[in-house]
């Protein structure tokens, strides 16, 4: 039986994957820029096709005074960071499914970032989580994330980066300036308790009690091309490079088990 699956060992690459990439936009930075890292806590070949994080990085690199790179995992669960020598001040973690959550802690640890937000005093990077599964149920990240983005990234990540830039020395100042933004959760400003799978306490302190997603009108597409990528749903094309485009963002069907149809449809 002919195999069209990619059987390569997880995270093992012939070349440095970053060296195989073509970037589709200019990225010019100044030494004074605020360093930001966008993390997808998965192995590079499955993570790069995630268009959400490419969009996030693209948007961040268009905020004046901000310079973003990307990080993934490689063999041995090591960090594969585009510019390893640069320590970020702001970290965006993009996750589309629950299986990556634990690996996000691995990525934070490898960047010497305390896992619990309460342990990240001034001087540690601000950690932002977002993505498809995170947007549906962000609660498990309330003890970990400084900020959680719910919904589409457009505007939301630039708002966060701008708030950081304008309040660089004050975490509370950053939170204050973002408190009323749609799609943004500041976990430290909520008191939340659950018991046996039900919510028993939800108190918002100076932030919205009801959370609605940020909505975008932009369709993500590839900003990076690399042959070191896999698309399990269409077959394995050894050495081929994909330009990917999202042509629709929600499903018109409403299957009872699937989240795709239960998304805010503007």
């Amino acid at each position: 039986m002919k195999s069209i699956e990619n059987d390569r060992p997880l995270g093992q690459y012939t070349n440095n994957p970053f060296e195989t990439e073509t970037r589709l936009y200019d990225k010019q930075h100044q030494p004074s820029d605020i360093p930001v890292t966008v993390v997808v806590p998965d192995f590079y070949h499955v993570a790069l096709p995630n268009l959400g994080h490419q969009m996030v990085e693209y948007q961040l690199n268009h905020v004046p005074g901000v310079s973003a790179d990307r990080a993934y995992l490689s063999s041995g669960y090591k960090l594969l960071k585009e510019t390893p020598e640069v320590k970020p001040e702001l970290v965006f973690v993009s996750m589309s499914y629950e299986g990556s959550y634990l690996r996000s802690l691995r990525a934070l640890d490898l960047m010497s970032i305390p896992l619990r937000r309460q342990d990240r005093k001034e001087g540690y990077p601000l950690v932002v989580f977002g993505g498809w599964s995170v947007s549906r149920n962000p609660l498990p990240l309330f003890e970990i994330a400084d900020i959680i983005g719910v919904g589409d990234s457009e505007h939301l990540v630039t708002d966060i980066a701008t708030a950081y830039k304008e309040n660089r020395d004050s975490k509370q100042g950053i939170f204050d300036s973002l408190a009323e933004k749609r799609g943004i959760i500041i976990p430290s400003r909520y008191k939340v308790e659950t018991e046996n799978g039900r919510l028993i306490t939800w108190e918002a302190k100076g932030v919205p009690s009801e959370i609605y997603p940020n909505e975008s009108t932009v369709f993500p597409h590839s900003w990076y091309l690399s042959p070191e990528t896999d698309y399990n749903d269409i077959g394995y094309y050894d050495g081929k490079t994909f330009f990917s485009m999202e042509i629709v963002d929600a499903c018109a069907s409403k299957c009872a088990f699937c989240a795709s149809g239960y998304k805010k449809q503007s």
């Binding site: 634990l102 919510l199 269409i234 094309y237 485009m245 499903c251 795709s260």
Partner: protein, 324 residues
């Protein structure tokens, strides 16, 4: 609550509107721009969710400009021979369909009333005729409402679809992807019990035994995500504390051995115990009377009452047609 018996149940607050590109020329121009820097193929995300007319027009336009589109799984009941022909003409290595279960009555109740076994047989035949060498079928084990008879029908359906493909001259392979069911926040099944781990393993064993000779079986058997995905999808802030406990254990092992090893079922169970939590909380059915942890997160336009109604109708085994 009054819900009519045995009639089409319509969620009236659903807007049949999605953000959707329907201009083939605009899509093709963007794809041309992207591929001129070295892209070999154009991957279209979520065309199955889009209109068939628009998707076909986009594929034709891409191919007319010498580009090679690739598309993910298709909704069998919404596509036609022309669409499948375009997938074949583009040179795509495989096509995927998602019956989820072989039990049509259950498939109808989960929201796929148009995907009959006959429709599946027809799209399989058309796919082979179109020269597509490989077929994937997406299933879900332990769907709410699945019975031993439903599961038997799943095995039978895959056997039948394989027979259709082989009789038409299947060139490559058939693969089934069979993950376990877990409830997603914000859907009607958010109240449903998760698929049990033991019954999942037994079902995968049966699939491998009964179908392994003719199809490739891709499953989550032995994968710790079977446990952790339930905790993360259904948990509150305590789930994050459990996860941190798990990571601490992995870190200790790494410091002791010099090597990072991925998490195991035992790691998660020990962490749950350390935090004083019961694994069952993340697997059992939840009452519609209590707010769920994500109660204040509103990812869709659909009211909570509507989700509850759909779940109640499903549990009553009444036909469920959710019209989007």
């Amino acid at each position: 609550m009054l819900v009519p018996q045995n009639v089409h149940f319509v969620l009236r607050d659903i807007k049949n509107k999605v953000r959707d590109i329907q201009d083939p020329s605009a899509v093709a121009s963007l794809a041309e721009w992207g591929t001129k820097y070295g892209g070999d193929l154009v991957k279209l995300f979520f065309p199955a969710n889009s209109s068939l007319i628009a998707t076909k027009a986009i594929m034709k336009e891409l191919m007319a400009r010498g580009l090679s589109p690739r598309v993910g799984s298709a909704k069998a009941e919404r596509i036609d021979k022309e669409y499948i022909g375009l997938v074949g003409k583009s040179g795509q290595e495989k096509i995927a369909f998602a019956p989820e279960t072989g039990d049509y009555e259950l498939r109808k109740r989960i929201g796929k009333p148009g995907m009959t076994d006959r429709v599946l047989q027809e799209v399989v035949a058309a796919s082979i005729d179109a020269g597509i060498p490989n077929l994937d079928f997406y299933l879900i084990m332990n769907l709410p409402g699945e019975t031993p008879d439903s599961f038997k029908k799943t095995v039978d359906l895959i056997g039948e679809l394989h027979n259709v493909a082989r009789s038409k001259g299947l060139k490559g392979r058939v693969r089934i992807s069979a993950p376990n069911f877990f409830p997603k926040a914000g859907t009607p099944f958010q109240y449903a019990p998760s698929g049990g781990l033991e019954t999942y393993s037994e079902k995968i064993d049966t699939l491998e035994k009964d179908l392994g000779e003719i199809v490739a079986v891709s499953s989550m058997k032995g994968n710790v995500d079977l446990l952790s995905q339930n905790i993360m999808s259904r948990g509150g802030p305590e789930a994050g504390i459990v996860m941190i406990e798990v990571y601490k254990k992995l870190k200790q092992k790494e410091l002791a051995t010099g090597q990072y090893t991925p998490d195991t079922f035992a790691d998660w169970r020990e962490a749950l115990s350390a935090v004083g939590l019961n694994e069952r909380v993340y697997f059992d059915e939840r009452s519609t009377d209590n707010p769920l942890p994500w109660h204040h997160i509103h990812m869709s336009d659909i009211r909570l009452d509507s989700l509850k109604k759909v779940w109640d109708v499903f549990k009553d085994k009444r036909a469920l047609f959710v019209l989007g």
